[in-house]
Symmetry: C2
Subunit: 297 residues, 2 copies
């Protein structure tokens, strides 16, 4: 952690950043990594309340997880991006390392149950296979599980969560790196009420619908492909009022500061039924000193 | 329900079909709609055990949900399709209608809590807004919730589930159609240990990876677009060992019984890093007498 900002985003003690989860969550770590320790953290219990936080005046920005390299897209975030009017102004990627956390006085021998978010438990299959006597208990989130086991002070109960949660609540780390796969990263986007294209912006996110279901996808991608603009990710979500129709989300290696991108977008608008630019921002790779992000292009 | 088969799939009393969930689940309804009442139903508690059922000899087919028109793709099914070696041989679409189900002696006035799968609860927001005194309780599945409230016989507890679950466990339907959105359908695929392209097959499902991340997607789609083959759905799932790389799943309006499709596939194989055909089968639309499916193309 440091107090400088990772993305050039202005952050000071007045900057309030909403995240989903309890204090100590991976989302909190992502907010601090992106914006520095000086920010005011605004924990929100649900994704709905996270996305509503800026509009309600409770926060200046919202930081939402959009993708994990093992679990895939966070579908709820995509739907709420679509339903709301927030703009992506930055992104950040953090590694997810799971720790087995007990209360003071606990040990690997004393514990009998391990609680956490079901995705976190599922990412530690090998650990559970090697310790077959441990019973898994699902909980709402990782950091909240640590808060609970520390509060209960029962040496038979442990949680799986990040190091930050263990330190925040005063839990004891019994084992670090219990995840099966080290290639475990989560990508978050920073959402603001007004669009802003910062210097260094090299990634463009948009969402579109196509006139005839998905038949026109190839035509819609062509304006970018012809200009050698790389497509980094494609995601589809249902159009709720129209079964078997889809909103198509694209992440492209492109900047709105370049004329080529504006031309490709103009062509796309002629071919698509609707196009909405979600944001143009510096990709996490460009600022990732730790070399954690290995975006392919 | 009827005893004829909806998809021409041979079904008799020896045909064992695995589904995920408890007896009375929406998946069970889908199995019966597709294969008729004569089949032997094999309920499996988890998606993992569902996909393993055929290989273990516990079932002849597995029926897996892949998509809901409100909730979107069932990510776990896509991952397990990829990890396993099963083949899609048919599909079926069922409408999802939620009922409020109580035990005998209960009424809309007597209930205080309503339990169900979180997705089902989330699909009934308007009902809960109109009955603000009702507390929502999340459970593992819809049918299991009904089993539990009938067993407890507590008139303050109700569940949300389909009519079939209410009837199976002897619950009382207190209100039918409590979902917010009637355009609520779930699509399932029937999985078999060997591929089979039946007469009338008009839908092709495949999964591919591309050489340079997603940059080559437009080129990969072109062989189909040029032949006016409609793309019905695209879904991406992470390649677990390679962060920011994706498996791309395509559903196309195409038949392996036609030469055009074989040519397009051959071209695709030259452009993609890997291509695996998941199955070629009659689309649910073609056999949907009830007009429930409104597939766009």
């Amino acid at each position: 952690m440091n107090t400088t900002t990772a993305q050039g985003t202005r952050a000071n003690s007045a900057t309030r950043v909403a995240f989903q989860g309890e204090r100590g969550a991976f989302s909190e770590e992502a907010a601090l990594r992106l914006l520095g320790e000086g920010i005011a953290l605004v924990p929100r219990p649900t994704f709905e309340s996270l996305f509503a936080a800026v509009g309600e005046g409770a926060a200046d920005f919202a930081l939402a997880p959009v993708e994990n390299t093992l679990a895939g897209s966070v579908q709820r975030s995509y739907d709420l991006l679509l339903e709301g009017a927030l703009h992506i102004v930055a992104e950040v990627i953090i590694p997810v390392r799971h720790c087995l956390v007990g209360c003071r006085g606990s040990s690997l021998d004393s514990i009998r149950t391990v609680e956490s978010h079901p995705v976190a438990l599922a990412q530690c299959e090998r650990f559970f296979a090697a310790h077959a006597r441990l019973r898994r208990v699902t909980a709402d989130d990782t950091a909240g599980s640590v808060a609970e086991i520390v509060r209960r002070a029962d040496p038979t109960r442990a949680a799986i969560a990040g190091r930050r949660a263990a330190e925040f609540y005063g839990g004891v780390i019994l084992r670090e790196g219990v995840e099966d796969d080290r290639e475990n990263y989560t990508r978050f986007v920073l959402l603001a009420p007004v669009p802003e294209v910062r210097e260094g912006a090299d990634k463009l996110s948009l969402v579109m619908t196509l006139p005839d279901g998905l038949g026109a996808l190839c035509a819609a991608l062509a304006p970018f492909a012809r200009r050698r603009v790389d497509l980094l990710k494609i995601e589809s979500r249902p159009v709720k009022a129209e079964p078997w129709s889809y909103h198509i989300f694209l992440d492209l290696r492109a900047s709105l500061l370049e004329a080529d991108t504006a031309e490709a977008l103009a062509e796309l608008r002629e071919r698509a039924a609707s196009v909405r630019v979600l944001g143009c921002y510096p990709s996490a790779r460009a600022n990732e000193a730790e070399g954690l992000a290995r975006l392919k292009d």
